[in-house]
């Protein structure tokens, strides 16, 4: 396109400046946390020493602090345990459901889809309140099982959506082809379907795990002392006493989520740019 004069250039520049500002807004807060977590002083701003890059102004004390704290270790174990269990549950159920949902013969598809993704679009405060009332009737509050069920529920929509998305590019003729070659249904699933949808399943699982790993409202309502998770512990920390130890945990979590994000992106590309 030929340039249309000065206004075009001004507009284009303003547009780029605007977008840059938005990107800075998105990224800067996360980036700022990382160096501050190495602060040798118990402050939340950059000390002069830090700005002058003096090695003495940086330290690992907050990391040692966190690693040495049994409460954080317990919280991490809980988070991993609840997260993994919820992920396995959500991924299994969600993948099956996605296979059914993309089957052309399914009656009442959109109603079922609406039902299955409802946990994702219901404000979590409402879900958590409902789960608290219901699970306390069943004696499931303050148990790991209760939180696993709650987190699996919140995670399933992500699995359903990602797997269904992978399947929407799936050629149903492959079923017939496999069958005509003599493969049984389970074998077809394993050898034809699963390899094709695996990236979707794994991304769905990662989404489900991340959902559980970052979930705090249901933990606040339903979890007890034994079910303290990392976000729950952070919640207490932020509310009551922000110490740079929180920033150390935050930095670790950032590294963790970067890892997750890159895995999902990689899988997404492998699945064919979906």
């Amino acid at each position: 396109m030929p340039p249309r004069g000065l206004w075009e250039i001004v507009g284009r520049t303003a547009y780029l400046v605007f977008c840059t500002a938005v990107f800075v807004f998105l990224i800067a807060p996360i980036v700022v946390i990382v160096p501050l977590s190495f602060n040798a002083e118990p402050y939340f701003t950059f000390t002069e020493g830090m700005l002058r890059l003096e090695p003495a102004a940086y330290s690992l004390r907050w990391y040692q602090n966190v690693m040495g704290d049994p409460e954080w270790r317990h919280a991490l174990l809980n988070s991993l345990f609840i997260g993994l269990a919820a992920t396995v549950l959500a991924t299994t159920l969600g993948t099956l459901a996605a296979l059914g949902l993309t089957h052309p013969a399914l009656p009442g598809r959109s109603a079922i889809m609406g039902l299955l993704i409802s946990p994702m679009i219901t404000p979590v405060i409402i879900s958590a309140a409902g789960m608290f009332f219901f699970y306390s009737n069943l004696g499931l509050t303050q148990t790991h099982l209760g939180l696993i069920l709650a987190h699996a529920t919140l995670g399933t929509p992500f699995v359903v959506i990602t797997v269904a998305a992978t399947l929407s590019g799936f050629d149903p003729n492959l079923y017939r082809a496999a069958a005509s070659l003599g493969a049984g249904p389970l074998r077809t699933f394993r050898r034809v379907v699963l390899p094709l949808i695996a990236p979707g399943v794994i991304s769905g699982a990662l989404f489900a795990f991340a959902t559980s790993f970052d979930e705090v409202v249901t933990v606040l309502f339903m979890g007890g002392l034994e079910q303290r998770t990392v976000p729950r512990q952070m919640w207490t920390g932020i509310r009551e006493q922000i110490s740079p130890a929180i920033l150390a945990v935050a930095t670790l979590l950032i590294a963790f989520s970067l890892l997750f994000m890159l895995s999902v992106e990689w899988l997404r590309r492998r699945a064919g740019g979906r």
């Binding site: 303050q142 148990t143 050898r191 002392l225 034994e226 922000i242």
Partner: protein, 371 residues
């Protein structure tokens, strides 16, 4: 070509699911075999004092482990446990009004007053505890008070000395920290508005009085930063987030002596209260919990708390055991909330009034906050 790995992966997934579900079923509660108790207290430096004064010596004496959990008051969690029948808190350090309500609601075990240990000189507990301390479902432990404090580094110029000054934005501009609760704040507001100490609850007993208290709070509302945990005010004062803040006196004391913070406590208009130790109804560890309560109520145990934080025992015999701060050697007496110099204008918290009116005040307070 990928059949084998996938097949085994499916099997792994199935196994993992089964394992995880079974494990979660069995992992709901730690094994009941080895005896342990959970004491729920107010976190931060106070919890640390309880750990040193109660938990460690108790474990040394009985072999029963005590885990410390923290909360910010209220009966919600206790009720949730009692009503669902899964009691995992054994002992709770309660505010008096909550203890009374919890008792009415059947959330706390009745106290066996005869079990309470006598004073070192043999005086029976019933005579040794200060009046009103032994209640149906809990026993008073320590006197503490809600005061306000300021950080001179962030407050140049003249310093506040009275409760009126806390509400005086002209003389002392800046944000103030207050607990997110009507409790104590209504009393502060009325005292600052000129109500004599002995008239505060009589005034609150009338709708006009309550209105007056809220109107007084209105005058500084925009400048209030609300806190919930006792550990927050020292932090906010140190950070300069507020120029002054209401706080539990012991937390300010600890920041003064342990962190060398230059905070100053204004004792004028302090609200003196006492903490109650109660046992959660239906705890599976009732025997051990009773044992702990008896242990903690010894004069020596209560006085030991006063070596870590400026709270004083709820028993008369405690005064004789008062000494210095263990880590710094500071004489504790002048820092205690009920020491004579500090009670010149002190209000005794009226838990009966709060038991009866807490709900309405909370509702009105949350409505007031949100508008």
């Amino acid at each position: 070509m990928t059949s084998r790995p996938y097949r085994s992966r499916i099997r792994q997934v199935v196994h993992a699911t089964a394992f995880v579900l079974l494990a979660s079923l069995s992992w709901s509660r730690p094994a009941a075999g080895n005896e342990s108790l959970t004491l729920v207290s107010w976190g931060g430096s106070y919890a640390r004092a309880c750990q040193k004064a109660f938990n460690e010596p108790f474990t040394a004496e009985t072999g029963i482990e005590v885990r410390l959990e923290s909360y910010n008051g209220g009966l919600a969690q206790i009720r949730a446990q009692v009503e669902t029948g899964k009691v995992y808190w054994d002992l709770v350090d309660l505010e008096m009004a909550d203890a009374a309500r919890g008792c009415d609601e059947g959330l706390l075990e009745p106290i066996v007053a005869a079990d309470l240990p006598p004073a070192p000189d043999g005086t029976p507990a019933v005579d040794d505890f200060f009046p009103d301390m032994i209640t149906e479902c809990g026993v008073g432990m320590l006197f503490y008070s809600t005061v306000y404090a300021y950080n001179p580094t962030h407050l140049p110029g003249p310093k506040p000395t009275t409760i009126q000054d806390f509400f005086d934005l002209e003389k002392f501009p800046g944000r103030r920290g207050m607990r997110r609760s009507p409790l104590v704040n209504l009393e502060f507001a009325l005292m600052a508005d000129g109500v004599p100490v002995d008239q505060v609850y009589a005034t609150l007993d009338t709708p006009e009085g309550v209105g007056r208290a809220f109107r007084k709070l209105d005058t500084i509302k925009e400048y209030i930063v609300w806190w919930e945990a006792g550990a927050q005010p020292p932090q906010m004062l140190a950070d300069g987030e507020v120029v002054m803040s209401t706080a539990y006196n012991g937390r300010i004391f600890n920041a003064q002596v342990l962190e060398n913070q230059p905070f100053v406590i204004v004792w004028d208009g302090q609200v003196l209260d006492h903490g109650i130790l109660g046992i959660v109804a239906g705890t599976p560890n009732l025997e051990a919990a009773r044992k702990f309560l008896t242990f903690a109520m010894r004069t020596e145990s209560l006085a030991a708390v006063g070596r870590y934080i400026a709270y004083s025992p709820a028993r008369k015999s405690g005064a004789a055991l008062m000494s210095t701060h263990l880590e710094t050697g500071v004489d504790m007496q002048p820092h205690m909330p009920n020491s004579p110099a500090n009670v010149a204008r002190a209000l005794s918290h009226d838990w009966r009034w709060w038991r009866d009116h807490g709900d309405e005040m909370n509702e009105r307070f949350s409505a007031w906050l949100a508008r």
